[in-house]
């Protein structure tokens, strides 16, 4: 086991434990907060995969943006600590069971599929400029479409959120 492998398991733990809390914690505020750890863990995983820019973006968008927005939304509801906002336990049994079955199959498929791995262990190249080049050439259309998507989301959201 190399140091990288150790870090993988650490980050996997940092990702999964908060994710678990997020799903099963009865209090929605703590659930939201635990996402913080999960997002950070995923950022670490990205670093291990050589995607430094993606990792930083993950932190910036998820932690600095989406999580803030989600917390705002959580705090919308009065009385977070009251019983009304605690989920009942029995609602989780069936989804949990089905989820476990699905997970079993997914793991089985992942382990049995012969992956065509062309493993490159050398240190990854500086990714940012390559990403930029790709965005301007091969992925130009999605790049511009992303802008249109954002425009649509922006206008839709402000129309929805505007007071009547």
């Amino acid at each position: 086991m190399t140091a990288q492998d150790v870090f993988f398991y650490i980050f996997a733990l940092i990702t999964l434990v908060p994710a678990f809390v997020c799903v099963f914690h009865p209090n929605i505020l703590y659930a939201g907060l635990s996402l913080f750890g999960s997002f950070f863990g995923v950022a670490g995983i990205y670093v291990l995969l050589g995607a430094d820019f993606i990792a930083a973006t993950q932190v910036l968008i998820y932690v600095g943006g989406i999580l803030v927005l989600i917390l705002f939304a959580v705090m919308l509801s009065k009385n977070i600590y009251g019983a009304k906002f605690q989920d009942e336990k029995k609602k989780k049994i069936l989804p949990g069971l089905l989820g476990l079955i699905l997970l079993g199959f997914l793991v089985k498929f992942i382990l049995t599929t012969p992956w065509n791995m062309t493993l490159t262990d050398e240190a990854p190249l500086p990714t940012v400029s390559r990403l930029g080049d790709l965005l301007l050439t091969d992925y130009l259309l999605p790049f511009e479409l992303a802008s249109i998507l954002l425009l649509a989301a922006l206008i839709g959201a402000i129309i929805l959120a505007r007071s009547k």
């Binding site: 069936l94 989804p95 089905l98 989820g99 079955i101 699905l102 199959f105």
Partner: protein
């Protein structure tokens, strides 16, 4: 000429490509400008649309002159890769050959004239610029349709044309009828389009992804197109499916019902879309795919066409709405074209498309002029306006003569060609005698109802004096197109010989340019004797039609009311248009979409409305005193009982649909897990 022009101004680009892109792009440009900033432009921006379509028109004329000089072998194509997948490559391209150029000429000429006409006709409309935007959009789609070099692109533009038609039919969407008519047109043509799409898919899979016309034809010619489905060869099946698209677009029986309703749109639109160009797209499609159709498929086409011709002609007899008469006439004429194509008269069918576009557009525009002057579409409120609107009268007369198939007018030349071909076809295959029979009958009927229209509208005493006093000749932007189009309805414009028999050409072979340019792909010479018989027969039929119209509606020696009284059941059937709409309403909408309620109200809807009300005239006239059987008991027990069972079970089943997305997702997840478990077990 065109190429040298473009070489001079755009030297760095390929001249033909840039010309074609310009031809296609100008109306699109007009559309974009109109839809976004049209309102703010001077005069609502009508000059933008007219200007852009004029450029397209000028380009097609230049193209046509080039074609005349280079002869029927002219062909130019270009294509580029659009979708590039590992196992499949889709190219888009432009195909320019004589058929395309003739279509372009027809489309841009009629479009340009109609645009011009619309300036006068629509000048008071609050959505003036929107109207021109839609018109431009239509022209763009139609030009794209004929420029396409593969089925896929053709299908795309085919649907765009349908969209434009929908937008324009329901242009006055405040009127519920117009909105309904738009929906009806869209949905009914869609039925045909589904057939066409299936046809394209059959071709796509059978030929391993060929969509180009040329490659499909060569594939078929090599005999590689095998396969059978339920005993029918797939080639025939694909042909019929493709033809289904044409049936929808060209309003052939049984999908003809949308076209009369489409007359709710502005009249110039009817002239452009529903007379000259879009409905002709079906004929164009059949022409374009002509080598693809097997003899069996062609027979289907011929029968559909001939039946539509006679069927629609009878329906036009009793109508009093001036535009609807023209609409049925259009259906009938399209049927004639289809019949021509079906019997193998490739040139004749397409020729009739061209001549028909001119005189039918002229007729519609004249009708529009009349409507504009009188503010009514009901012929019973017209009459005697011959003197007040001389230009309209003259031009409409010319076009009517052309449509009726009178010598020296264009309709005669082309229609006679079709009828002659069909007659010789029937002489070769006597079992198909119905085809020419229907054709000739429809000729007579056409002459009758057209002259009925003329007599009722322009002759006699004014029936509504208030409207009559208000009437006036239209402004020049409206009459100019009429004059041009009526000039185009003269036979001299299409052929050197007045009787159109080809061999008697006065100014050499090029003067019969339509025939000259369209070398039939499988030229099978028919004996000319058939043509002579056909000439005599059709003239006789037309003469009879005109005579009857003259007697009934001009001299009034025969009373139309009495005839109607005498043949009451036929008259009623005709005025109700064979109850086709009611039949569809019942069969499709109620049966299919409202199964539950229909069962519960079975006796109410079906027995009372359709059988009693709908079929009553026929049942009464055939057997007035047939016993009325009262099976209430059965109704209530069996029929109502069925309805109640359905309703009760529906109530229970409804509970599953809770509206809770999480439950749906849960079921979905469960299903995924179940499938996975099943897959591993098996």
């Amino acid at each position: 000429m065109l190429e040298s022009l473009f070489l001079k101004f755009l030297p760095s680009l390929d001249p033909m490509t840039s010309a074609m892109v310009m031809l296609l792009g100008m109306p699109l440009l007009g559309f974009v400008i109109q839809i976004f900033i049209g309102k703010r432009l001077f005069r609502g921006g009508d000059w933008v649309s007219v200007g852009t379509i004029f450029v397209s028109f000028a380009l097609s004329v230049l193209l046509f002159i080039d074609l005349l000089s280079s002869g029927p072998q002219f062909q130019w194509t270009t294509s580029w890769t659009w979708i590039d997948l590992p196992h499949f490559q889709l190219t888009m391209g432009i195909l320019v050959d004589p058929v395309t150029i003739l279509m372009l000429l027809v489309i841009t000429t009629v479009s340009f004239l109609v645009f011009l006409y619309s300036i006068g006709y629509m000048h008071e409309d609050p959505r003036y610029s929107r109207y021109f935007a839609y018109l431009s959009f239509f022209s763009f789609s139609m030009i794209g349709l004929v420029l396409a070099d593969n089925l896929f692109a053709l299908y795309i533009f085919w649907e765009l044309v349908g969209l434009a038609s929908y937008l324009l039919i329901s242009f006055w969407f405040e009127k519920p009828e117009a909105a309904e008519a738009g929906k009806k047109a869209f949905i009914v043509t869609r039925i045909g389009d589904v057939g066409m799409f299936i046809g394209i898919l059959i071709i796509f899979f059978e030929t391993n992804g060929l969509l180009h016309f040329d490659s499909i034809f060569s594939y078929v010619a090599k005999g590689q197109f095998g396969g059978e489905f339920l005993g029918i060869s797939l080639l025939t099946l694909a042909g019929i499916c493709i033809f289904l698209g044409a049936v929808g677009k060209s309003a052939q029986f049984p999908l003809h019902i949308w076209l009369p309703d489409a007359m709710e749109g502005p009249t110039p639109v009817s002239a452009l879309i529903h007379a000259a160009t879009m409905v002709a797209a079906g004929v164009y499609l059949v022409t374009r795919m002509f080598p693809f159709f097997t003899p069996e498929a062609r027979t289907v086409i011929a029968y559909t066409g001939s039946f539509t011709a006679i069927f629609a002609a009878t329906m036009a007899l009793t109508h009093n709405d001036i535009k609807k008469v023209l609409a049925y006439s259009t259906i009938s004429q399209l049927g004639i074209m289809m019949m021509g194509l079906g019997v193998g008269a490739y040139v004749a069918g397409f020729f009739h498309l061209v001549t028909h576009a001119a005189f039918k557009a002229c007729l519609f525009l004249c009708a529009g002029s009349v409507i504009h002057a009188l503010h009514t579409q009901d012929m019973r409120e017209m009459g005697g306006i011959r003197k007040k609107m001389p230009i309209t009268f003259t031009t409409m007369g010319v076009a009517t003569l052309a449509l009726s198939g009178i010598p020296f007018f264009s309709g005669f030349v082309s229609k006679d060609l079709i009828l002659g071909e069909s007659l010789s076809f029937a002489m070769e295959n006597p079992s198909h005698f119905l085809i020419p029979l229907f054709g000739f009958l429809s000729t007579g009927l056409t002459a009758f109802y057209m002259f009925r229209l003329i007599f009722m509208t322009f002759y006699g005493e004014p029936r509504d004096s208030k409207k009559f006093d208000h009437a006036h000749e239209s402004p020049w932007v409206m009459t100019l197109p009429l004059i041009i189009l009526s000039l185009c309805s003269l036979a001299i414009f299409f052929t050197g010989s007045p009787l159109g028999l080809g061999e008697l050409s006065l100014w050499g072979e090029k003067s019969q340019w339509v025939k000259y340019l369209l070398e039939p792909p499988s030229s099978s010479e028919h004996p000319t004797s058939a043509h002579l018989y056909a000439l005599i027969l059709s003239l006789t039929m037309a003469g009879c039609g005109i005579l009857f119209a003259y007697l009934i509606y001009y001299k009034q020696t025969l009373s139309s009311e009495k005839i109607a009284e005498k043949f009451k059941c036929i008259y009623k059937t005709l005025t109700h248009l064979y109850w086709i709409d009611e039949l569809y309403e019942w069969a499709v909408i109620h049966n299919l979409l409202r199964l539950n309620t229909l069962l519960a109200h079975f006796d109410n809807r079906v027995i009372d409305q359709v059988l009693v009300d709908g079929w009553a005239p026929i049942t009464i006239s055939t057997s007035t005193n047939s016993g009325d059987f009262d099976n209430r008991a059965i109704d209530q027990m069996l029929v109502d009982g069925t309805g109640k069972v359905v309703r009760a079970s529906g109530k229970e089943v409804r509970k599953i649909q809770t509206g809770k997305i999480q439950q749906y997702l849960l079921v979905g997840l469960g299903a995924v897990c179940g499938i996975l478990i099943l897959l591993t077990l098996v």
